[in-house]
Structures are given as C-alpha cells and as structure tokens.
Amino acid sequence: MERAVPHAVPLGQVEVFQALQRLHMTIFSQSVSPCGKFLAAGNNYGQIAVFSLSAALSSEAKEESKKPVVTFQAHDGPVYCMVSTDRHLLSAGDGEVKAWLWAEILKKGCKELWRRQPPYRTSLEVPEINALLLVPKENSLILAGGDCQLHTMDLETGTFTRALRGHTDYIHCLALRERSPEVLSGGEDGTVRLWDLRSAQEVQTIEVYKHEECSRPHNGRWIGCLATDSDWMVCGGGPALTLWHLRSSTPTTVFPMRAPQKHVTFYQDLILSAGQGRCVNQWQLSGELKAQVPGSSPGLLSLSLNQQPAAPECKVLTAAGNSCRVDVFTNLGYRAFSLSF
C-alpha cells in the first residue's frame, strides 16, 4: 500500500496561503456580547470573528460550532482592542474606532454603524489605538494609543471632549477605578498615570521601572497590562507583575514571573495574568502562584471573563494570543476546547 501522507488534501496555492495566514495570525482582542452568548475576536489582519459560545458549550456541540458564526473585515490594520456596550461592539486598532450593532452583526454584509477618529497631531503615521475603556457613569469612551494621549469621546454625541496629555511614549493599557471617576493608564514610557476625569488632570504618576523590586531593565520599561480594584492596582510588562497600593504608591507584592505579562485582571480574590508563554497564571494576592493552566497558543495577549448575568451557562474564561485559536476555560483549572478562526 502507498505510504500515508501527513494530510489527505494536497495543498494548492490558495490553501498554502490560507494555512500560512492562519499560522501567522494573532488575536489581539476579545469582547463578549451583552447577551453573553457570543464572543467577538479581532486579529492582526483586521478581521473580527464572532463565535457562538452557547453553541460551542452546548452538549451537542460539533466541530463546526467551534468555528466563527461570521467573520468580517473590520479594519485595514490589526484590531487591537474591542469593548461592548449594551448595544454596540466598539472596535479599534488603526487609528479609528468603529461601532457595530450587536443585533446585526450576525447578518451577512454587516456595515459599521459609525466610525470616529480622534484628533491626531501627527500626519506621517496614523497612531494606533491600543486601549478602549468605557466610562458608564458619564456614558463616554476613552481611547488611548500611539499618540500618547487619552481621548475622551462622548458616546451620546460622538464628539471628542478631552485629550489627556502626559505620557511620553505610546499607551498600552487603561483601567477604570470604579468608585471615583479616575482612570489609570500604562504606557511604553514605563509609567502608570492616574487621571481625574472631572478636572482632566493627571493626579498621580508611578514610574514603575524605577522601583528596584520590580524593575527588569533587560525587558524594557513598558507597562503592558493594568488592572485595578479599589485601592489596589496590578501592573506588568517589562517590569515584573506587581501589586501596588495606590494611595501610598508602593509595590506590595511582586509576582515571580519571568515572562512579560500582557494581560492582567482581578477575579474574586485572585489575580489572573497572561503573557509570553502558554499558560494562564492564577495568583494569590500574597504572591503565590496558585495555578498555571496551559493553553494552546505560544503567547497570550488577552483574557476575557464572561460574567454577563444574562447567560450564566456561558460563564467562561477565554484567552487568545499568538495563534488563530481562542482557548475556552470552563472553569479556571482547565482548558476545555479552542475556538478557531
């Protein structure tokens, strides 16, 4: 008999190209729909894929239900960040923010509802948008990225109301303090800055790289991820992942993780973080590594916790990064399956 070949279908030009594209795909952002049943994921080719979590999690799930329900070209460049309001999916990446109606997104040929571009000062290269943050209290959206500023956009009118300047390099991440109207931003310049939205003033600056406990010069200064809970803030990136007490601006816990972290979030009394490496890390606040759950991608860029009360059956953790797969963790201890582009 003929020797078995590794795959059944011979690859032509188109198939090879598609295989290479999938191989070099990076999923930068995720967002769960307001109903909790769908998950949108944006990749480096500007595509957004919408997966049906409820179908993939149902008992009669097939291989097809782990494929996107719909995939569409949203941006020309990578889709770096996405958030969902109660009606819209907002996506941004290459300098523009676009809004899509969740209600219509599953239909074919879905067009964006609107698109906005913050007022940029440079013209040579359009700065990217790395982070979107919804401020529900004043119904606004904060955009931050390549031009080192935080732009506030009124979601009612669609106008850009404020620009918060202070960072000296581009901004990686944003976090909202829930009680007071304050926003944290972390950037390539190695600082975490606290902004008061009422006065539009910078309140506090933490230069993380200058603290010896967490500084790692060989990795650089950049702050890649940021999360906050009351007076606590956790940030990581070039410097080690560190828990900070905001009022005293002191690092309280340095988490022993060598690889730079790209996403961090508080979850109950745990801190979940992901970055270079296959695993989702779970930390106790005391700095102990509670668990490392391996995923399928060599590096993770985003975590998403589906906590929508509308769909308790779809309460999962999803992680995506340097592959075309979105790993789904039905409980924190183990990867159930992967959704795939």
Partner: protein
Amino acid sequence: MSSESSKKRKPKVIRSDGAPSEGKRNRSDTEQEGKYYSEEAEVDLRDPGRDYELYKYTCQELQRLMAEIQDLKSRGGKDVAVEIEDRRIQSCVHFMTLKKLNRLAHIRLKKGRDQTHEAKQKVDAYHLQLQNLLYEVMHLQKEITKCLEFKSKHEEIDLVSLEEFYKEAPPDISKAEVTMGDPHQQTLARLDWELEQRKRLAEKYRECLSNKEKILKEIEVKKEYLSSLQPRLNSIMQASLPVQEYLFMPFDQAHKQYETARHLPPPLYVLFVQATAYGQACAHMKSSQPPRQDKTLSVAIEGSVDEAKALFKPPEDSQDDESDSDAEEEQTTKRRRPTLGVQLDDKRKEMLKRHPLSVMLDLKCKDDSVLHLTFYYLMNLNIMTVKAKVTTATELITPISAGDLLSPDSVLSCLYPGDHGKKTPNPANQYQFDKVGILTLRDYVLDLGHPYLWVQKLGGLHFPKEQPQHTVIADHSLSASHMETTMKLLKTRVQSRLALHKQFASLEHGIVPVTSDCQYLFPAKVVSRLVKWVTIAHEDYMELHFTKDIVEAGLAEDTNLYYMALVERGTAKLQAAVVLNPGYSSIPPIFQLCLNWKGEKTNSNDDNIRAMESEVNVCYKELCGPRPSHQLLTNQLQRLCVLLDVYLETESHDDSVEGPKEFPQEKMCLRLFRGPSRMKPFKYNHPQGFFSHR
C-alpha cells in the same frame, strides 16, 4: 305323323317364297296384298279364340272319323269300302282346315314376333337417349362447379384504397357515376387505374435505371481519372521535397509522422494529436509569418513501428480485457516454471510492459533551454508515464544545493497540487498489483517514468475516484482541455527551476543575487549577510525544534525541498529553515526562524521573530518582483537580512549594561514599537527610505 309333317312343308315353301315380298309391301300397298295374300290380312280379321275352337272341333271330328274308319274296317264287308272312302274324303277336308289353322298360327307368331321386336327397338332408342341426356347433365354440373370455383388474379393485387382511388384517378377511368353503385365496374376501374399507375412507375423505373447507368459510367470515368492522378501527385511530392526543405516546411515529415501515429495506442495517439495541434496553434499565434523552424513545441514519435504492428493487430483492443486475460493465461501456461520467484518476476515484467512506441515532446523556453518529455504507455496497467529531462543552452555549473532541482525524478513533481507521480492513478491497478505482489508503483517509477495525473489527462484518460470503470477510453476533449494549462505550467516549472538553479549558485557563495528591478524593495545598506545556504533532508527538517508549526500545519510534505540558511550580523546568528514547494514560485518558500542572540529566540517566545516570519511568508506578494516572479526566493532572503538589521538595531538598550549598543540604529524609523505586542517597524517605505509599522 310323317305324312302330316310332309304335308305341312308345302305351304311353308309357298309362304317362304312369297314372304319377303309380303313384308316389303306390308304397309305400302295393302290392296295389292289383298290381291295376292289375303291370308295375312285375314289373320287380323279372325279371332284367335275362335280359331282355337275350330282347331279343337276339327281335331275331334278327325278323331271320330278315324274311330269310325277303324270300326268299319274291323267289321269288314264290301260295302264298307265305299263308306270308308266317304269318310276319308271327309277327314281330308278336316286336314285342310288344320293346315289352314297352322299357317294362320305361324303368321300370327311371326306377326307377334315382329311387334315385340319393334317395341324392343323403340325401348332401346329411348334408353340410349336417356343415357345421353344424363351424361350431358353431369358435364354441365361439372362446368358449373368449375366456374364457381374460379379464382381471379386481381384479388391478389393490392389496390389503392377506395377514397384514394376516387381522389386521384382521372374521371375517365374512375367513372364515378357508373362505378359507385356497381362493385364489379368499380373493381374493373380500380384495376384499370392500377394498371395505369404501374405503367407509369415502370416508365419511371426504366428512366432511373438509365440514369444509374449513366452515373455509374461517370463514376467509372472519374475513378480512372483519380487513379491516374495518384502517380502524378507522387511525382509532384517527390519533386517538391527539396523546395520544402528549402522553405522549412516539413509537410512530408509531418505526413510520415501521422502515418506512424496510426500505430500508437489510443492514449498516446490522443496526446500526439492534441500536442501537435497545440504546437501548431501556438506557432500561428506567436507570429504572423509562416511557422518557423524553432517553434516552441515539437512532437515526435519514437520506437519501433514494426513491434507496435506486431503487438496490435486490432488496435482497438480493450486494454483491461487484455491484461486480465493475459494474467489468467500466464497463470495457466507458466505453471511448469520451477520457482515461484522467477514466475512472479516474469509476471511483474509483463504487467509493467510499455508500448514499444513513445511520444517525445520538446518544450522550448525563452532562454533556449528545452524540456524533453517522453511519454510512455503501460499497456497492461492502462496508464501513461512520463520521463523528463532538461537541457540548457549553456552549460550550468551545478551548485551542490541545487542537486534535486533539475533531476528527472523531481523536476515535474507536484505540477498540480498533490500530483507526486508515485502512485498509480488507475484504481484498478491495485488489484493487478496484488496478484503479482507489487506493493506500490513507487519502486518502479525510476524505470517506467512517473504516472502523473496530468499525463493521464493529456492522454485523455480519466479515472474517477468514486466509481472505478472497467474500461477507460482515451478522450480527446479531456486532453484538449488540459493541454494549454499543462504546457504553460511545464514551461513555468522549467523556468522557475532554472531561475532557482541560478540563484542557488550565488546563494552558496553567500551572495544574495538581488536583481536591479527588485532593488527598490530594500534599503541601500544591508549589513546582515547570508553566510550559509545548504540543503537539508526532510527528516532533519522535521526534527528541528522551531519548525513544529509548519509540520503540524501539514506544509512540510516529503515532496518539498528543504534548505537551511544562516544570516549573520555580528554576534547575532539567524537560522532560517526553508521549505521549497515544488510549485515555486506560485507557492512561496516558507521560512521558519531561530535567532541566536542573547538567548535563543523563536516565534514561540518572541513576537517580533514571529512578525519577521510573517513578513517573508505571508507578505511575500510584495517581494515577488516583476513577473513571473522567479526572484522570490532571493528577495525573501534579502528581506530577511533587512529584517534582521531592523530587529537588532531597534532592540531596546539595556540601561544596566555598560558600554555602547552592539548595533547602533542606522535605519530611519518613525517609532520603535507599536501595538500591544510591541512590533518593530519592519515595513520599508521605498522612495523615502524609512521604516514604519505595517
């Protein structure tokens, strides 16, 4: 008594004398009779009864007289004598009376006889008449039955129907008013019409016959003319040969080829015809001038025609049938062979036998390199194979790493995706192989040539995967539909292989041969250098730790060619494992990188290495350069050098380490990092010469 009889005689004589005359005159003259013989008339007048009384009386009288005489005599005396005398006289009278009565009796008898006779004669005549009449009746009856049984010929004639007859026949024949009521007349009229028509048809038939005769004669004449034409044409052909040669118009040669082509097996014939047609079409399209001698595609037939003739008495024999029966025959006839091995070996040889004729296809490319293709037909497997050879105009110095590029075994591999040419395309063959213990055709392709799928299609053979057919018939349209694409692919394949060949020669010496028309893709100053370009084995590639993704994606097939490149700049060493698909350059070479600089960096631990791979693998289209983009590999390698430069120069400087940066930033970059994964500015913007993010 004697005296009585003598007395009686006398009247008899008298009567016999007079009797004949009496009879003649019987009716004509009764008066005369009365004169001569009253006696005959007297008979009629007398009553026979009374005569009988008279006769009795007379006899009594005589008896008494006799008795008285007797009495007288017995008494005797003289007076008695007188008395006796007296009595004698008296008795004499009585005798007279008796005589008379006798005669009368005779006459009466005669008369009675005559009457009887007469009546009898009358009865006889009547009887005869009756007989005649009866006979006549019988005859007439016979005639009547004969008439009744008479069959007319006209009943057998198939006449036209009545309506048709009244419609078509002229009125002087149909005579509708007469014939309508009278079926007899009608039939007669119809017969008349039939006769009329038949006469006309007979006339027509004669005409046609004469026409046919005429045409036959014409044909004869023309045939004669044609047969006289052949030798003349032959002589003209002979005479035109030098002219043909002079004008480069090898019509005669082509004719001879077609003659040979008749002995080709069907698939090779299809290939031959279609390839020739395609070659001619190309030659016509390329130039409006008459076909040149150096046309791009030339077709020829090789092999022994006589062998082919001997092999195929009826050339339409179904191949499958033949092979089946052959196999069976072998089993029966070769049983006496001693060893099973030899027997199997012979069977294998028989099964893999090629047709003695083969078709040669020479495909000429622009740079005068030629691809020689020889197509064979395996008779018993009903598949076609091809052997390829590339010759170039100028002698090539073969670089070590280019070993497989132009080898006959692999030059045509995967012309169409997945077409390795190592499996038999005919599903029926597997069963044949099982019979003689052939595991796979793979072991024989070096000898037989490769049975690529496109070869089968050029020969018009189609083997559907789903439903294997018993007989596969060579189909011209299938061949024609694949000819052009295949020829173009073949040409592209040869050219791209030759281009690769050239590039490899430079690459081995550490030179990345960027052509002038691709120069704009790269900055003027590239510091990283290619230092090594070697071929590696498929197994070695599979074992490399940084190629796992490619292997898992199924992109590392054993039909591909594998290379290892090493790019260096200072202490940084970038290994690049390259998969070269046989479909180069439409399918790009795939690079997997491993950088050794401050630790080992691959796509799994460094996003920028991943980005560099994606720059050469996914964004290869901007590196294709001018069509037909054979420079892709070179451009990709040069791009890799540029990428390494950018990677190294933009690496953020570790503040804690003393001393200057190893790689000072020389490239102009708008920003060093961008986005969540901190990409470096790998994109080169041509006229301005700066680097930006993609």
